[in-house]
């Protein structure tokens, strides 16, 4: 019984981490039909910015609990600066081309950003562990868990609810949903599709950066942290259905639970378990769990 509890807790914690990272990716794909390969680099940028700013904040002797605001502020700065820069500087010249061209462009961007990060921050790791250790741990079912993971869980639920509200109940959000559904008709109806693209991309970038910033206290911020994240985010988004926001949530939950179960009961297959889940889902529903039917266009 204790083992099952541990599996569930670990699964939920991991799912919440995955959700924050994957939701930005699925949003960008849903609206712009771009598979953003640079998503992992933006995650890494968020982590580095948080580590640098956080380190400066603490070195300056400011209140340690302010660091949480600093992490978010760093991520917002990265998102708000990098998002429009990339969208206006690179992507806007590629709209209307085949999807593969856009994928290649974002992949090239990923490579460039990885090297740019190395140029700015070097190859040595950065640490900003105070946010993680400040909150202490709590014991559940005989095992101790850091309270920080609970904070992450709450934050991801908050982001989920906020996005759901924004997409379903605000005018901007409904415009976004309209563009997701059909870009041409939305443009014909007078929506400024280009502006929607800019807003979406910035939002997706910010979410990736927030993922990185919130993860940074638990890891060594070093080159390469963005690479594994892209793979996981893709798996989640494919399971949930590209472009589906609820799909990202469900996909994260599935991947988190499957992986947690594998780690506890059959660690040898952990490496493969996520892809097994993905394969099973795709066999049953080739477009992912919430990938809607696509009307045939003539």
């Amino acid at each position: 019984m204790g083992e099952v509890l541990a599996v569930v807790i670990d699964g939920i914690v991991y799912s919440s981490w995955l959700f924050i990272i994957a939701v930005g990716l699925t949003l960008i794909y849903g609206v712009m039909k771009i598979l953003n390969m640079a998503h992992g680099s933006l995650y890494a940028l968020g982590a580095y910015a948080a580590a640098s700013l956080g380190g400066r904040w603490l070195a300056g002797g400011h209140a340690p609990f302010g660091i949480y605001a600093i992490l978010i502020a760093a991520a917002l700065a990265v998102g708000v600066i990098a998002g429009p820069l990339i969208e206006k500087g690179l992507l806007q010249f590629m709209y209307g081309r085949e999807e593969i061209v856009l994928v290649l462009a974002t992949y090239a961007l990923f490579l460039i950003l990885e090297d740019a990060i190395k140029l700015v921050w070097g190859v040595d790791p950065y640490f900003v562990t105070e946010p993680y250790s400040l909150l202490g741990s709590v014991e559940i079912g005989g095992l101790s868990y850091p309270v920080y993971n609970g904070v992450l869980l709450l934050f991801s639920i908050f982001v989920g609810v906020l996005l759901a509200w924004a997409l379903g109940w605000t005018r901007q959000g409904k415009m976004l949903l309209a563009v997701i559904h059909d870009r041409e008709i939305s443009a014909a109806l007078g929506l400024n599709v280009r502006r929607v693209y800019l807003v979406t991309f910035t939002l997706g970038t910010t979410l990736a950066a927030i993922g990185g910033a919130l993860t940074s206290p638990t890891i060594a911020v070093a080159p390469g942290i963005g690479v594994q994240v892209i793979v996981l985010a893709f798996a989640v988004v494919v399971i949930g259905g590209l472009g589906s926001f609820a799909g990202a949530a469900l996909g994260s939950l599935i991947v988190g639970m499957v992986r947690s179960g594998a780690v506890h009961y059959l660690p040898e297959v952990e490496l493969f378990s996520i892809y097994l889940a993905m394969a099973v889902v795709l066999i049953v529903r080739p477009k992912g769990l919430f990938g809607g039917p696509e009307p045939r266009r003539i």
Binding site: F127, N149, T218, E270, L271
Partner: protein
Amino acid sequence: MSVSNGRGRNMRRFVLSGSVLAGAAAAGIALAAAAQTKVESKPVKIGLVTFLSGAAAGPFGVPARNSAELLADAINAGKLPAPYAKPGLGGAPISLVLIDEAGNTTKQVSEYRDLVQRQNVDLVIGYVSSGDCLGIAPVAEELKKLTILFDCGTPRIFEDATYKYVFRTSAHAAMDNVGAALYVLDNKPDLKKVAGINQNYAWGQDSWNDFEASIKTLKPQVQVATSQMPTLGAGQYGAEISALLSASPDVVHSSLWGGDLEALVLQASPRGLFKKSTVVLTAGETAMFKLANQIPDGTIIGARGPHGVFAPDNELNRWFRRAFEERYAVPASYPTYHMAQAILGLKAAYEKAQAASGKAPTPEQVIAALEGLSFETPSGTVKMALGKGHQAVQGTAYGTFKLQNGKATLTNIRRYAPETVNPPEGVKTADWIKASLKRPGS
């Protein structure tokens, strides 16, 4: 047509031919002299392949490159202590061509071919990744280019094949995990349960398999509680740590390195894993100083050999540590020592071959000199005693971490002689561990 004319003509002929001869001789001597100085000062071009980007750059590639540059400069200036005081490789200056090892093995093979065939290097030193080593070795044989593997751990290179052109100047990873098992049993003779967390690729799998087999041979009653195998680069170990905590092993073995190791320490330490179990970090020395405040006392740390803080107090080591810290502001970790062994081994072989032949040696002569060579390094004596003289053998050491006055130190250091932690010639590591592994003194 007087007698004087005839004599004059002969005289002129004599003078003419004499001066031509003298001129030719002078030219010949000048050319020979020029050729001689050209041979003496023609630089030895070394292709240096190691990680300059990506996750392995910080802990391994960049320190190794720094070590190579430090040694190349010092050797060219003749600043090394004995027996390496002669400038250059027997007078020939070293020139390095740097290549990034990042990218998959296929890419590395084409980079290697480019180094050898287009850039015409005299030899190649490199390779941290076991996958790259296994891929490059046959290509080196095919292209007949002296290649010194300096860091990769897989025992398989010289156990699965024989090479003439490939050498490895550091002991392989069997030593790390056998040494870990010996140290663990020395410190915890009534060990009951072990567990592991290792990266799921060749390095992690081989490390765990060798450790598990060693423990099982030395103390068959020990149980394996769980073997966690997260993806290389996973970085999030919440579930693995929960599984390890639930299993309550006495000892947790880990060959994690770089960002993964640091993430594990950061995530596991607050949850009490290091207090509940003794954690063995076989490659822990690279993270020891950066994470000094996070690694709990009692953690067992290895440096893949007698390197870094385990290095003996000889003149070479004193010079090396001081020069490295002066130039790069950080202590010299074990990858720097692995690189030092490659370069110093090359220098020793080169000068031995040169002494035998009286002039700049051919690559074949250097290879013959390097086979079976025994040479001095900051880590002590290295003997090329396995793989028919191509694979180095050293002893190893392990210690227990203790934070003293805010500085990372290792206590309870135990050293293990080379024969106790390396298989003998001609025997595969796995077979040796299963059949003949013994605790020293038993």
